[in-house]
Symmetry: C2
């Protein structure tokens, strides 16, 4: 089995071979050195983002770190209202990492970038000694462009707005956790990792007046709603019965004492829109493969300020807060 050696990160012959044999064919690298030039961008404001991916294990039901590293950054741009166009990819690889696994990850990145319509045009590889990393870590940074008239910000949220969720919750976190711990759930849970830029483009074609979109990754739906409540100064109320929780996620959470509202998602978005736009937008979202089970899950009120409330099925009200520590580390 071919393994990554320290020399693969040296700048010398081994590194050039690695780039020539694996990285250059996988991506649209415009330069093996220094920086890459973009084609002229479409009219609009430019958005920039970055994320590092340290998920453990690297391969999990429904995805892998390669797929995740493209979708995560594409989704950050997409929920900002931008059309993702270009990515960079930085790899930190542990000495002894199997080159066959690297090839599998790169193939996954290539296929996902093509599916998203983005180009990976600049990269970097570093190798650290055995025991100084955990297999492979990937950073991607992304450039996208916002069309004029798109304005995605929590400051746009108004009392009376509706909260839309694009699909069922908790699948990514549970799938990674199950794989990590060698647990099998029945029914099995697959990660929801999926690029959202097709969905967001479709949504913004329906109405540019989407007030805010955000993808509830680390910390789950609860944390994202709490951030939005905090940043808007308003109260977000959601209804337990309206939130789709897949049976496998529900079962796993009951067994392990986890709350699905805090479990990470990687192909899900929350949108907040004016009441008048909610039903047409929901109908449009449901036409898209990434949001067949989209639902209106709640609404915005003026008070209590900066709060997230959950109306339970039995008529109670629960205050939703951020988690203090960590439910599931290294989920993305």
């Amino acid at each position: 089995m071919e393994l990554i050696q320290l020399g693969h990160g040296s700048g010398g012959r081994l590194m050039h071979q690695l780039i020539r044999d694996y990285f250059a064919p996988a991506f649209d690298m415009r330069s093996l050195n220094d920086s890459a030039l973009l084609d002229p961008l479409p009219q609009g404001r430019i958005a920039l983002t970055t994320d590092s991916y340290v998920v453990s294990p690297l391969f999990f039901p429904g995805g892998d770190i390669g797929l995740l590293s493209i979708c995560g950054t594409v989704n950050d741009l997409a929920v900002s209202g931008a059309k993702p166009l270009y990515l960079t990819a930085g790899f930190i690889i542990e000495e002894g990492f199997p080159i066959s696994d690297l090839r599998r990850i790169l193939a996954s990145m290539t296929a996902t970038a093509q599916a998203c319509g983005v180009k990976v045009i600049a990269g970097d590889t570093k190798v650290v000694e055995r025991g100084k990393a955990d297999g492979i870590f990937i950073n991607t940074a992304g450039v996208g462009v916002l069309e004029d008239g798109v304005d995605i910000s929590p400051l746009n949220i108004r009392p009376g707005d509706k909260i839309i969720l694009s699909g069922p919750i908790g699948r990514h976190g549970i799938s990674v956790m199950a794989e990590r711990n060698g647990i099998t759930f029945d029914p099995p849970v697959q990660s929801d990792v999926f690029p959202l830029n097709g969905l967001t483009a479709h949504m913004l074609k329906t109405t540019k007046k989407v007030h805010v979109m955000r993808d509830p990754t680390r910390g789950g739906v609860a944390t994202t709603l709490k951030e939005l409540a905090h940043e808007s100064g308003l109260c977000l109320t959601i209804h337990e019965g309206m939130i789709p929780v897949p049976p496998g996620v529900r079962g796993a959470c009951e067994l392990l004492g986890l709350d699905p509202l805090y479990i990470a998602n990687e192909g899900l978005l929350i949108a907040i829109v004016d009441q008048a736009d909610a039903e047409p937008l929901l109908a449009a979202m449901k036409e898209h493969q990434a949001a067949g089970q989209a639902a209106i899950i709640g609404e915005v009120t003026e008070s209590p300020e900066r709060m997230v409330l959950l109306k339970t099925d039995i008529g109670g009200i629960r205050i939703i807060d951020m988690l203090s520590g960590d439910q599931l580390p290294r989920i993305c």
Copy 2:
């Protein structure tokens, strides 16, 4: 002593506190979520680049990983002929990392970004378990703009061109290696890590007809010249006596059996220009603090194709090739 916990990477309250207390004040973060919007860019082509930094140790004579993570990416843009404008920063931190060290690194990044005139506008933090990383790894990606008329490419190199080196070689690699191994050299060697965008802007003001610039980091001057010979299809000849090697670097290399031509630099550039432009450009470079010891070190000929030749002080000729493996791992 305050230490990084796994919960600092969770997306929850601890992570928000970390961002609020340390990352947000250090940078020009435009959004704590998703992506950041750039101000309208100046006219020109847009360049994009990325690098991850895994240097060990994190603090070394003349610099630290924070300084390096800004300079390295700024320099990649600068030697492409671009004016660096925006950076992203992605942190992968090992559980148990001292927050005091994180503060020191962030302070270094802030000061360097200000000195370079770049804004760090988007970031990300992941935390991995103790033993799954080595303190801290940093990725930065950078966006810059190239003025019209600037065309930096090895394809521009022509027979007769002169090769200019901006200063003395080998200081970064030797300083890191000495610190890592607890060796003290007399005279001591400080890293040359320094932002080159001021120098490159000054050079391009003197003449836009710089054929190529490149910063000889990993693999040193030898590897960079070999890349340029390969990419241009021409022969690059350099003269041993014209290459400034600081006494500390020379002593360390003699002691350890290393070749200074292969040692990493982080504040150095190689420029190749038409013979007629070489002396005026050299004079302009010497006015700049980053290139007081700049020198013409060689010239380009048609053949032997794709070769780098070193004319030694005693009249011999040595063929310079890329290193196969690794002289000094984790130098940047």
